[in-house]
Symmetry: C2
Subunit: 337 residues, 2 copies
């Protein structure tokens, strides 16, 4: 298996040789970085030196229950201070137009160019390489489909694709592959099915067929619920493991989204701050792009992943990947501005 094999061989290399371990531990220690709680002084530094505020949405500005208390006031205050505000989301269920409406419905000021979502970025990516064939799409018609339509790229795949055939031999015989397909694009799709995974992985047997994923988040934020809602990673990973190929990922932590934003708005990363709720995507993204970073604990990541000053790092913490600052929620940052 593709992922498991890589993971296994790396684990083996790292754990079975004490000499390597010593070196790795030294490197870990040396590159360990603290994360600081937001306070008056830190907030002043941000307001003085940051012009562009990039916000993840789910788990930061809103969640399944609506606007997260206090977040709207922070965004409005930043706008009042003359700051630029951008909405940067891995969510591939919506087009930019949908996101403008969603932001506005909640009271957040937004125009189309303030939104960077993975459905849009995927379409832009294919457009930029002058893609002329067909896309096999695991994803929603109204989001990714809509963005592909905007740049004139042909696709099929959205909607239910229920199991047909009684097993192995019939699948081998009856699956039709469209010879014009030269890209498999996977985003959030609650109609994910065995047939879709089989079609996608079969197209990807051709090494010239592109493999693009909008993002790989494992679950959607659902704080305080006993339900875990699967994220796009649940649609992407089955294809990855069946096809034994890694996708080009559009969403955070890949830098594609910042590259597009930077180009349109001529941004200087050192004067940008990314605020997010997930270390593995938002904070990694901020660091890779050279931005400041603020983690809010109103979504996925928890205090158990934070290396706090004067405390030994918790087991779950990724020592190389700590946010510059953290706050309980956006409202806590708001208290100081």
């Amino acid at each position: 298996m593709y992922l498991s094999r890589s993971l296994f061989s790396m684990k083996t290399r790292l754990t079975s040789h004490s000499m390597t371990e010593v070196v790795v531990n030294q490197i870990r220690k040396a590159s360990q970085k603290m994360s600081f709680p937001i306070n008056q002084e830190k907030a002043k530094d941000i307001i003085d030196n940051v012009d562009n505020f990039l916000f993840d949405c789910d788990g930061v500005l809103w969640d399944g229950n609506g606007v997260i208390a206090g977040s709207l006031a922070v965004v409005l205050k930043l706008k009042q201070l003359g700051k630029k505000v951008f909405y940067v989301t891995n969510n591939s269920s919506s087009s930019r137009q949908d996101y403008v409406k969603k932001c506005n419905d909640y009271g957040f000021p937004a125009e189309k160019d303030d939104i960077v979502c993975t459905a849009y970025i995927a379409a832009q990516y294919l457009h930029s390489i002058n893609f002329k064939d067909k896309v096999y799409l695991i994803g929603k018609e109204e989001s990714i489909g809509h963005e592909l339509d905007q740049v004139g790229i042909r696709y099929f795949g959205p909607g239910p694709d229920p199991l047909i055939g009684t097993g192995y031999n019939q699948w081998l015989k009856d699956i039709y592959l469209d010879a014009e397909v030269s890209c498999v694009l996977v985003g959030f799709d609650p109609h994910i099915s065995f047939m879709k995974i089989m079609r996608a992985a079969s197209y990807l047997k051709n090494p010239d067929c592109l493999y693009i994923a909008t993002n790989e988040d494992g679950s959607l934020p659902a704080k305080d619920s006993n339900i875990c809602i699967p994220g796009t990673g649940c649609m992407v990973l089955p294809v990855t493991v069946a096809a034994e190929r890694d996708p080009i990922v559009m969403g955070k932590p890949s830098t594609n989204m910042f590259d597009v934003l930077k180009k349109i708005h001529n941004l200087d990363p050192s004067r940008c701050m990314m605020t997010g709720d997930r270390i593995s995507t938002d904070i990694t993204f901020a660091k890779t792009c050279g931005m400041r970073s603020l983690l809010v604990l109103s979504g996925i990541s928890t205090i158990n992943e934070i290396c706090q000053p004067g405390q030994s790092p918790p087991k779950q913490a990724n020592l190389q990947n700590q946010p510059d600052l953290y706050a309980q929620n956006l409202a806590e940052f708001g208290k100081y501005i």
Copy 2:
């Protein structure tokens, strides 16, 4: 994301520090092992020193088109020489009883105790820990369900579970979780769906809920076809990534299957040989259990993964995980016995 994060942090550690790289490369070189083509001398050594022959099935004895030419004659010859033959398969679509029938239909001699399949091992595992609650099962009624019935363990889940609800809020509200469930068991299930992944990952929010996977193979063997048929890994990985938990894996390369076989038949691993078509499962399994190993190239793994004597290792080869011997197919081994 669970897997990606681990993979990412390991990659970072391995690639961004030249000192670590040097050490790792030295270790790789030192532990590199050659794999030898089968020949008269090697075959004689096997016949003289091996009493127990363990065979993977799909891709070794048969494939989607029926018995692989020459493999039946080899098994019959081994039986004639007084050797014990066992069938060790990660396939979780069949019970032991099904496998006896399948073997016999193809002409392979087999009784129930000669078969080790993951549906059986999963049921045995739960039985051995005196499991009394309910299992939420992503898998087939007639295979895993049947084996659970044999040991009196209650379960539900098999069959279609199509998408209901229009989105996020309805899912959070309408998903019913059975309080008696304290194990999620995932095997091959062509009815895999968003709802099943959501239910499984939600049960796994409870850290006391066991998480068991029959196996994690990414695809089923389908040599020379342009179709890629998803394997059990495509059902397991979405649950793993949504729940951010790693399963206890029953199948190869985990040693569970050999442990059961060893116990029933009192086997000495040094007098056992495992023959398989997949390095990442079969060969790793052989090595972990202390058996000899023969890779046949009639299934998943290819010659590009083999370090041949006198040649520089191919890029794709896992240098730490080479079979002792390799052959085009079982028939090639048969020529020498």
